[in-house]
Symmetry: C2
């Protein structure tokens, strides 16, 4: 353990399931990283603050520094939930242990990361889904809103659609589908009662794990799965057009579904996406550097 | 407080939000009633057993009897959740305090009640939705499965559809709708962020309270609300036909939505429904009497 005489930066990307931290030097070289628990202040401000410090300490240790370095860090912190003003204010009022903290939404730092600190747009399709565009001094969020009320085209949404179709098919109220066998197998169910037993109280993460079966069934020619993906693609396209109306210089697709989803988007839509250049937590440091200058 | 020398019957209708008990004499005259907490063994077997006893004691007291009468009661107990064999077996193995207990699903006792102890069919549209038909020695459940994966045409389903449409409209991704003003007003929201803040972790009961606004908006000419109800009506009709294929002597519509929903059903569907003759908890006693004979 030693201390650093150069300025170090902490980048935080915090969300509902985990908090990722990186320690970068002034040239954006990554010296260490750490992952801790959930950091969405909408769910718990206290837990978010604890997860941020936990992740920062892990990243500092990974970089070979001790706890005493914490108050030397310039922190860029991107969090889910702080798009709601109340939670932004609560997190911003935190007596944090860093030298200085610059707070932004998880969307903003992901967007800055994707475009290496420049303005642009992103669409995130992972467990949840949302679109975001950042132009000079202005930003717009399209979609999101959470599960099950929003986040169409997300992993959780795809999983829920699949389960709904399986249950309708079990009652012979809609077309039989290859999703039934795939989802029963994935969850070790014998019948729809078994399936329903497992659904009680489940949230986005559970359903998102089922999304892969929608892609697999669709690839195998299942019409029901293909219809779900066509509906997802329609929603994706509508969000895409809303973002592009703000004329961003670049747009990137981020999140766990990006690889499988691209096959279901129109070629003239997908061709307009550029690869993200940096991870969200690096974007958080780019944000902090912009604010520090 | 006194004891009874004639045989008394306990009827229990237990579900996810409450447990209703009645004390009837052998001529099915209601002597007392009581309501206690949730009694769905799928959520908690222990809590279900406690709620049943609590409700029974309240009903006994209401009828002017004391606790010592409990072990003289012939109990008919209808419960949500016991359509799953595991929970039927757990509840049936209960060392209950009654003279004897006859256990059935909440659907079966509701159906017996609706048709005064005879076979028939029911559709329940309240917080949840489900269809049930009971013919000689055979029964069939159509739909149900819970929220948000099933229960189309239920109050919870209608409320969720409404919220989804309001959020899509807020992003200008679908048609504007009078549901926005009604739901913002009902929940004291200024905007979609306010709305989303209130949705986190909410379940069927929360969404079901919003269903009335779908009917009100549709009656006021809102096209989006009318589309939601048309979709609900289509699902209802499909379930109806599945039940009628079993050729029940009667079919009844039960649950909080029945009054408003009938305006959105085709006349030749709705005209086939007969009024329920007895409440589910009376049906539970009819069941117990059948089993006792």
């Amino acid at each position: 353990m030693h201390t650093s005489h150069q300025q170090l930066y902490l980048g935080i990307d915090g969300g509902g399931s985990k908090c990722k931290a990186v320690i970068l030097d002034a040239e954006l070289q990554c010296l260490g990283e750490g992952i801790a628990g959930a950091a969405n202040p909408f769910h718990s401000v206290e837990k978010a603050q604890k997860s941020i410090v936990d992740a920062a300490l892990l990243a500092l240790a990974d970089a070979g520094f001790g706890e005493q370095q914490l108050n030397q860090l310039i922190a860029g912190v991107g969090l889910a939930g702080v798009n709601i003003p109340k939670y932004f204010d609560l997190m911003n009022a935190w007596q944090h242990p860093f030298k200085v903290m610059h707070l932004a939404t998880d969307l903003h730092i992901a967007c800055l990361g994707a475009h290496n600190g420049e303005n642009g747009a992103i669409m995130i399709c992972g467990t949840g889904s949302v679109g975001y565009v950042n132009t000079d001094g202005e930003s717009l969020i399209v979609g999101g809103h959470g599960f099950p009320q929003g986040d169409a085209c997300s992993g959780a949404w795809l999983g829920l659609q699949a389960v709904q179709k399986v249950l309708l098919a079990a009652d012979d109220l809609s077309a039989q589908t290859g999703l039934t066998e795939r989802i029963y197998h994935a969850l070790a169910c014998n019948d729809s009662n078994d399936l329903v037993s497992q659904l009680s109280g489940q949230g986005a993460t559970f359903y998102a794990r089922l999304a892969i079966h929608v892609f697999d069934a669709a690839d195998a020619g299942d019409l029901v799965a293909q219809q779900i993906l066509a509906q997802a693609s329609n929603y994706f396209t509508a969000v895409f057009h809303k973002l592009m109306a703000k004329d961003p210089a670049r747009i990137s697709l981020i999140g766990g579904l990006q690889v499988r989803l691209k096959d279901w988007l129109a070629a003239d839509i997908f061709s307009q996406f550029s690869d993200p250049m940096q991870a969200p937590e690096i974007g958080a440091v780019l944000f902090a550097k912009q604010k520090t200058q």
